[in-house]
Assembly symmetry: C2
Homo-oligomer: 337 residues x 2
DNA sequence: CTGTTAGCGCATTCAG
DNA sequence: CTGAATGCGCTAACAG
């Protein structure tokens, strides 16, 4: 394997084998370039024989386009984020773009982002890592940035989210329609728009029908925080007939504790609804009513936007797209089977 | 933003501002190169003023080293795979390497892999995508390949797995120690070594104590297949007192059905054990006994191997490292709390 | 320790 | 439609 470097096959090698010039080789591998069918096939044959592939580094050096999209991602243990990353990665792959991922534990420091930029990423996608430092760094980088699942109020950033307010309203109305009157809310931490929007929408739905929430708690979107809040809530003896958690993971943690530590049955004693429609929520143990954020459509919008930004060199930044979520009703909010 | 290309700052810009040559700039950004402290600081100051970062593309073109590690990953909905990817990505980042991920739905076709290679990846890590086509393609690429969580019998591939046989033996012994005699096994599909090794080890543990499994089924490591197998098993009326599933997801699917559709209680009516020790298994609804594969250690070995391969140009390929798994006993195999 | 020279592998002018 | 020449941004050899 030590001959790896020596073995490297360059365009001039296939040019010689095919009896043409390097330009001819380059052209056959460049979309819509002028090459005659004959030379093209000669080149392709020689390339196949030598197992030649153009060096993307050298190419991007001259085209000023790397084909690499930087992705900032965190908390893959949350199945919803894992799904976004997977769907996005697949969509980029199908578009001929390559995802360079920065797995940032909230600490997407300047140097990390700088490393990403040194690879000349054509665009940056931020999935869920919201750090103030990251936001600052963004403004310094002259690259199209799109935030999926987060809203950034920033001229350089195009945001794509679910219409969280409206979707949360759907949940609120659904719980009211089920006859609930003593309703609790488990919101997220207030530094992300997605969380506050859900809170706003949900409370608005209640207010429209003259209902005030019995209790409002703040979690951090983890299963653990759902567990902790459940212990606090049920331990205090507050009486509720329904709880909306701002994501599935918290709803699931809450259900786990409600059943295993307080003997509460869902939905008999308590209705529970979540948000994200993650696969886990559909399992038989939970059958969790939730909101499908339509990840596929969000990703489609993101990739589409990136492609356009590559063409027009990133005019049209700072836009805000919203996708409509869909209420998925399951047994966790239904009386009986 | 259209002036993005124009705004690009190159080494010559900071050289001029600092009043030195391009080489001086290059050297200050090259680890252990000869630069005097004074020029170094002059360069750094100018670089900071201009917000200069070396172009990794141009650099790798000359150093023949990209710093990019290709990762082939699939099925992020399985929290165990998601964890491997996240931990690996973090470890690479901390080493100054960048992960270029190919999210392959079992269809890591030749062209996809070729795209990865065109970016001159220094090494390739395969997490869980086992396709015969992929294996063939690997042999053509002169790049160090390391398979995490899979064993490839291939001269070019270094494999790192948990000692699946031994770990599965631990599970078998544990179930026997709990007094179980009518034991079922839910194995994986037989095309991956990890699955067959677990099956082998588990059955060996039983055989050593003169016990034959009541039933052996094959799943595909998804929650759905756990569900389907559970329906088949419990529907047939076979009497068992314990079941070992070759991963957590299948164990969880099986538990879900056992409880919701057949009224079976775990562990009162049936002990259940899984494999992977994924976070989900620790939730209060499952409290699943499982095997911790020590992902951190596997990843550490992988990154360490990659670093060495980068230094010696990939001699020492074809090795096989094994990590010892650890049995994590929870209530799913314990009589009472 | 520094600046100058040369070239990594390729796409793209420009003549032909 | 093709080949020769030029340079993308950078590091590495060399001579000072």
């Amino acid at each position: 394997m030590s001959e790896r470097r020596d073995t490297r096959v360059r365009s001039i090698d296939v040019a010689r084998l095919a009896g043409v010039s390097r330009s001819a080789v380059s052209r056959t591998f460049t979309p819509n370039a002028y090459v005659s069918p004959e030379t093209r096939s000669k080149v392709l044959k020689a390339a196949a024989a030598l197992n030649y592939h153009p060096n993307a580094m050298a190419r991007s050096l001259i085209t000023q386009r790397s084909g690499i999209i930087g992705i900032v991602s965190a908390d893959l243990q949350n199945p919803y984020y894992a799904k976004i990353l997977e769907v996005l990665g697949g969509a980029l792959r199908d578009t001929g773009l390559a995802p360079l991922v920065l797995f940032g534990d909230e600490t997407s420091s300047k140097s990390q982002v700088a490393q990403l930029l040194s690879y000349q990423v054509d665009a940056l996608v931020i999935i869920n890592a919201v750090t103030s430092t990251l936001t600052e760094n963004i403004s310094r980088m002259k690259v199209p940035v799109v935030a999926v699942n987060r809203y950034f109020r920033h001229d350089w950033v195009t945001s794509i989210t679910c219409d969280n307010q409206h979707a949360a309203e759907l949940v609120g109305n659904h719980l009211l329609d089920q006859g609930c009157t003593r309703i609790g809310l488990v919101a997220g931490n207030s530094d992300a728009s997605s969380g506050t929007d859900r809170e706003t929408g949900f409370l608005r739905a209640l207010a429209k029908r003259g209902v005030a929430p019995v209790v409002v708690e703040n979690g951090d979107y983890t299963h653990d925080s759902g567990v902790a809040i459940a212990r606090k809530l049920f331990g205090s003896g507050a009486s509720m007939d329904a709880i909306f958690c701002c994501n599935d993971l918290m709803a699931i943690g809450l259900m786990d504790v409600a059943r295993s530590e307080f003997g509460l049955r869902v939905p008999d004693d308590l209705l529970v609804a979540g948000f994200d429609n993650s696969v886990v929520g559909a399992w038989q143990s939970y059958r969790l009513t939730s909101v499908d954020q339509n990840v596929e459509q969000m990703v489609e919008l993101a990739v589409h936007y990136i492609q356009r930004a590559l063409e027009d060199d990133g005019k049209e930044a700072g836009q805000f797209f919203q996708v409509q979520g869909k209420l998925v009703v399951r047994e966790s909010t239904g009386r009986s089977h």
